[in-house]
C-alpha cells in the first residue's frame, strides 16, 4: 500500500492550495479529485448546460448519472436530485473544483463578519457564533491568496475599513457604461462604491495572458486562461515540485482508522477500476466542499466513531449555509451593455453591517454578462408576458438597456440546515449519498429583503425609468457558496474543528474548505476559503 505524508481529498479552492503549500515544503502528497481535468473545449460554451444555467446538464461535473443526492424540501418531502438541478446544491467536480468555472470575485470578509454573535447577539433558533480567529489573523493570508493566485482590484476604495497592508497585484477591470451610471446613482445617495475585486489577470501575470473581455466568464472556462483558479496556479506549482501526485476521477469512500481509532489513510474508487484502493498517510486533509466533506466524515464510521469521524457531538453537517441573492433590475434610458466582459465592475459595501433592525447585511454589485437565454429566465419584469410579440420586443429593445444589481447576503445559520447521509440512496460506487435538509434562518430573509430594497433604490437613483426585483424566500442557501458544515471553534460540543481545521480529538485529520466557516460573510466566500487554506497548509507543513 502506498504511503504519503498527506492525502488531500478535493482539488478545489482549498485543496489545491494545501497541496501546493505542503508539496513546496517537501511533503509527499496525494491529491485526490473525483472529477477530471477539463480543457477549455471540454467546458464549452453551451448556453443551456453550464454551471450558471444548467437546464439539461452542466459542464464541469459531476456526471448527471450515478451521482444523486436526496433533497428534503421545507415541507419535509424528500426526493432524489441530479447534479444539474438547483436543489442538488452542486459545486463543480473537476480539477480546480468550483474555481474552474467561477466568476472569481475576490472579496475579503469584513472584520465584523468574524464576530457576528458578539455584534448582534444570537437570534432564537440560530447558531450564530463568533469565529475563533479574527480578521487580523487572516489578513496576511488574504494577501497571499491575492498575490499568489492573482487578484485585480483597488485596495483604496474598499470602504469597510478593512485594514490592508498591500494593494492588489493587478489593476481593476475597466468600467462599462453601466458602471458610470451606477457610480452617479450611488453618489446621489451618498453611498461609496468600489471596483469589484476579481481573481482575473487584467494584465499578464505569472506567465499567463490577460483577460480578453469575452462574454463568457462565470459558469464557463476562460479562453486565455486569465481567470485564476486552483487548476492554473497552485496545482501546477504543487506538481512542479515532483512531490505531489494528482489522482483524478478518484472519489474518496472513507477515511480509514487503525485499531486505536487513529486516522491512517483514505479508501477511494478510481473511475474504470472496479476494486477500491487505499493509501496511507501521516495526515488526511478533507477539502471536498461543505457538502462532500461532511458526507465523507459521516461515511467514515468505525466502532470508535459510530456516527462518523468528528461527529461525537452531532455537529458534522450542521449549519449548512450559503447566500441568498436578492436581485434588482432597472430599465435604463440608454444602452448600458457594450459586450465587454466579464461585466461585473462596481459594488457597494455600504450595507455590510450596521443596518437598523437587520442582522448583518450584504454587498451589491452589477452582474456578469448574461447570455440572452439566461437573461430571459432571470431578468425580465414580472408584468411582461412570457411569450408573444411583446416578449420578443422587450428582448430586442431592452437586452442592452437593463441594468443588473445583485449580491450575497450574510447568512444567519441554524443547526437544522444540514447535510446527513441518506440511509438508502447510494451513488454508483455504493457510497451513501448526501441528504440535504432545512432552510436558512428567517433573519437571513429579512436582511435579503432589506438588500433587495437597496438594490431598487440604487437603480432608481441611477436613472432607471422602471425598476423591478426578485427575492428568494426561506430556502436552503448552500449552492456554490456552500459553507459551515464543519465549523471551527473552541468548544468540541458546538464545533467540529479547531482554528486550524484540525478535527477535535483527531491529531492528524483536518478539514480545510468552506466547511470551516462559522459564518459565511456578506461576500462571495472563495478568497476566505483560500486564505484559510494557506494558513492551515502552513500549520500542517510545520506539524507533520
Amino acid at each position: 500500500m502506498k504511503e504519503y505524508d498527506a492525502i488531500i481529498v478535493g482539488s478545489g479552492a482549498a485543496g489545491g492550495i494545501v497541496a501546493c503549500v505542503l508539496a513546496e515544503a517537501g511533503k509527499h502528497v496525494l491529491l485526490l479529485e473525483r472529477g477530471r481535468e477539463l480543457s477549455f473545449a471540454d467546458v464549452g460554451r453551451d448556453h443551456l448546460r453550464n454551471q450558471r444555467l444548467a437546464i439539461y446538464g452542466h459542464n464541469a461535473g459531476p456526471e448527471l448519472n450515478g451521482n444523486p443526492r436526496v433533497f428534503v424540501d421545507p415541507q419535509g418531502r424528500s426526493r432524489i436530485v441530479r447534479p444539474h438541478e438547483l436543489d442538488y446544491h452542486n459545486n463543480a467536480a473537476c480539477v480546480g473544483g468550483g474555481t474552474r468555472v467561477y466568476g472569481a470575485q475576490a472579496w475579503r470578509f469584513h472584520p465584523d463578519d468574524f464576530r457576528m454573535a458578539t455584534k448582534y447577539g444570537v437570534p432564537r433558533g440560530s447558531s450564530l457564533a463568533d469565529w475563533p480567529i479574527t480578521y487580523e489573523t487572516l489578513e496576511p493570508y488574504y494577501e497571499r491568496a491575492e498575490w499568489e493566485l492573482g487578484a485585480a482590484g483597488d485596495g483604496r476604495t474598499i470602504n469597510h475599513q478593512v485594514p490592508r497592508r498591500r494593494n492588489y497585484p493587478l489593476p481593476p477591470v475597466p468600467p462599462s457604461p453601466q458602471t458610470s451610471a451606477l457610480e452617479k446613482g450611488a453618489s446621489r445617495l451618498g453611498w461609496v462604491t468600489t471596483p469589484v475585486p476579481l481573481l482575473i489577470n487584467t494584465e499578464p501575470y505569472q506567465g499567463r495572458a490577460a483577460c480578453i473581455a469575452c462574454k463568457y466568464c462565470v459558469g464557463f472556462a476562460c479562453p486565455t486562461d486569465a481567470k485564476n483558479g486552483s487548476q492554473n496556479t497552485v496545482i501546477p506549482r504543487a506538481l512542479a515540485t515532483g512531490n505531489c501526485e494528482l489522482q483524478t476521477s478518484a472519489i474518496a469512500a472513507s477515511i480509514d482508522v487503525d485499531s486505536q481509532g487513529n486516522v491512517k489513510g483514505v479508501t477511494y474508487f478510481v473511475e474504470g477500476v472496479a476494486v477500491r484502493q487505499s493509501a496511507l498517510a501521516k495526515v488526511v486533509v478533507v477539502s471536498g466542499g461543505a457538502i462532500e466533506s461532511a458526507r465523507l466524515l459521516l461515511n467514515s464510521r468505525s466502532h470508535h466513531s459510530p456516527a462518523g469521524l468528528g461527529n461525537e457531538h452531532d455537529q458534522v453537517g450542521r449549519n449548512l449555509q450559503g447566500h441568498l441573492y436578492p436581485r434588482a433590475y432597472g430599465l435604463s434610458t440608454t444602452k448600458v451593455f457594450d459586450g465587454v466582459g466579464p461585466g461585473v465592475t462596481i459594488a457597494t459595501t455600504q450595507f455590510s453591517h450596521d443596518n437598523a433592525g437587520i442582522i448583518g447585511g450584504g454587498m451589491l454589485a452589477d452582474d456578469f454578462i448574461k447570455p440572452p437565454i439566461d437573461f430571459w429566465y432571470d431578468s425580465l419584469p414580472p408584468d411582461l408576458p412570457r411569450w408573444g410579440i411583446r416578449n420578443k420586443e422587450f428582448m430586442r429593445d431592452n437586452y442592452t438597456r437593463v441594468m443588473h444589481v445583485r449580491g450575497p447576503v450574510q447568512d444567519i445559520p441554524n443547526p437544522d440546515g444540514r447535510v446527513t447521509v441518506d440511509a438508502a440512496m447510494r451513488d454508483k460506487w455504493g457510497i451513501p449519498v448526501a441528504r440535504l435538509s432545512g432552510t436558512t434562518h428567517p433573519a437571513t430573509v429579512e436582511a435579503a429583503e432589506f438588500m433587495r430594497e437597496r438594490g431598487e433604490e440604487w437603480l432608481r437613483a441611477s436613472g432607471c425609468e422602471k425598476v423591478w426585483s426578485a427575492q428568494p424566500g426561506l430556502i436552503l442557501s448552500g449552492r456554490q457558496h456552500q459553507a459551515g458544515t464543519c465549523r471551527m471553534g473552541k468548544d468540541p460540543k458546538t464545533s467540529v474543528t479547531d482554528e486550524w481545521g484540525r478535527v477535535h480529538n483527531h491529531d492528524n485529520l483536518f478539514v480545510v474548505d468552506g466547511s470551516l466557516h462559522v459564518t459565511n460573510g456578506g461576500f462571495n466566500p472563495v478568497l476566505t476559503i483560500m486564505a484559510l487554506a494557506f494558513r492551515s497548509g502552513e500549520y500542517i507543513a510545520r506539524q507533520f
Binding site: 443551456l48 469575452c214 462574454k215 459586450g339 447570455p371 411569450w387 430586442r396
Partner: protein, 134 residues
C-alpha cells in the same frame, strides 16, 4: 410531432417581425433534436400536448391551429395558459405549456450550434453579439 401545428405554435410564441420568427430561426429543428435526446422521456407528452392544442383550436374556432389568424392563435394559447379551455386535457396543461414556452425560447436564444438560432439572429436582435467583441 405534426410539423404544421408545431410551426404555427412556435411562431405564435415568437412571431416574425423585422427579425425572423421561431420557425424561420430553426426552433422546430431544435425541438425535434431536444425531444430525441435530453427530453426523450417527454416526447410523447409533448406530442400529446400539441394534439391538444389542435383540439382546442378546432373546438374554439372550427379550424386547424395553423389555419387560424394570429389573433385567434394567441387566444387559443392564452386559453391553454390560463386554463380557460373548451377541450378536455388528458395531460397536465400547466406542465405542457411551461415546457412549450421554455423549450421554444431556449431554442431561439441559445447558441446557433443547438439549431434554433440560425445565423445567430436572436443575438443580433438583442445586441448580445457585436462586431467588436464576438
Amino acid at each position: 410531432m405534426k410539423s404544421e401545428t408545431l410551426r404555427a405554435v412556435v411562431n405564435c410564441l415568437i412571431p416574425a417581425d423585422e427579425f425572423p420568427g421561431a420557425y424561420e430561426a430553426g426552433v422546430c429543428d431544435y425541438l425535434r433534436k431536444l425531444f430525441e435526446t435530453d427530453l426523450r422521456d417527454d416526447a410523447e407528452f409533448f406530442t400529446t400536448g400539441l394534439e391538444s392544442i389542435e383540439l382546442e383550436a378546432r373546438a374554439r374556432f372550427g379550424e386547424p391551429f395553423a389555419s387560424l389568424i394570429p389573433e385567434q392563435q394567441t387566444i387559443t394559447l392564452e386559453a391553454i395558459q390560463y386554463g380557460d379551455v373548451l377541450s378536455s386535457w388528458q395531460i397536465s396543461r400547466q406542465r405542457f405549456f411551461e415546457m412549450l414556452v421554455c423549450t421554444t425560447t431556449e431554442g431561439f436564444y441559445s447558441e446557433p450550434q443547438q439549431g434554433g438560432n440560425r445565423g445567430a439572429v436572436s443575438w443580433t436582435m438583442t445586441g448580445f453579439e457585436d462586431q467588436v467583441n464576438p
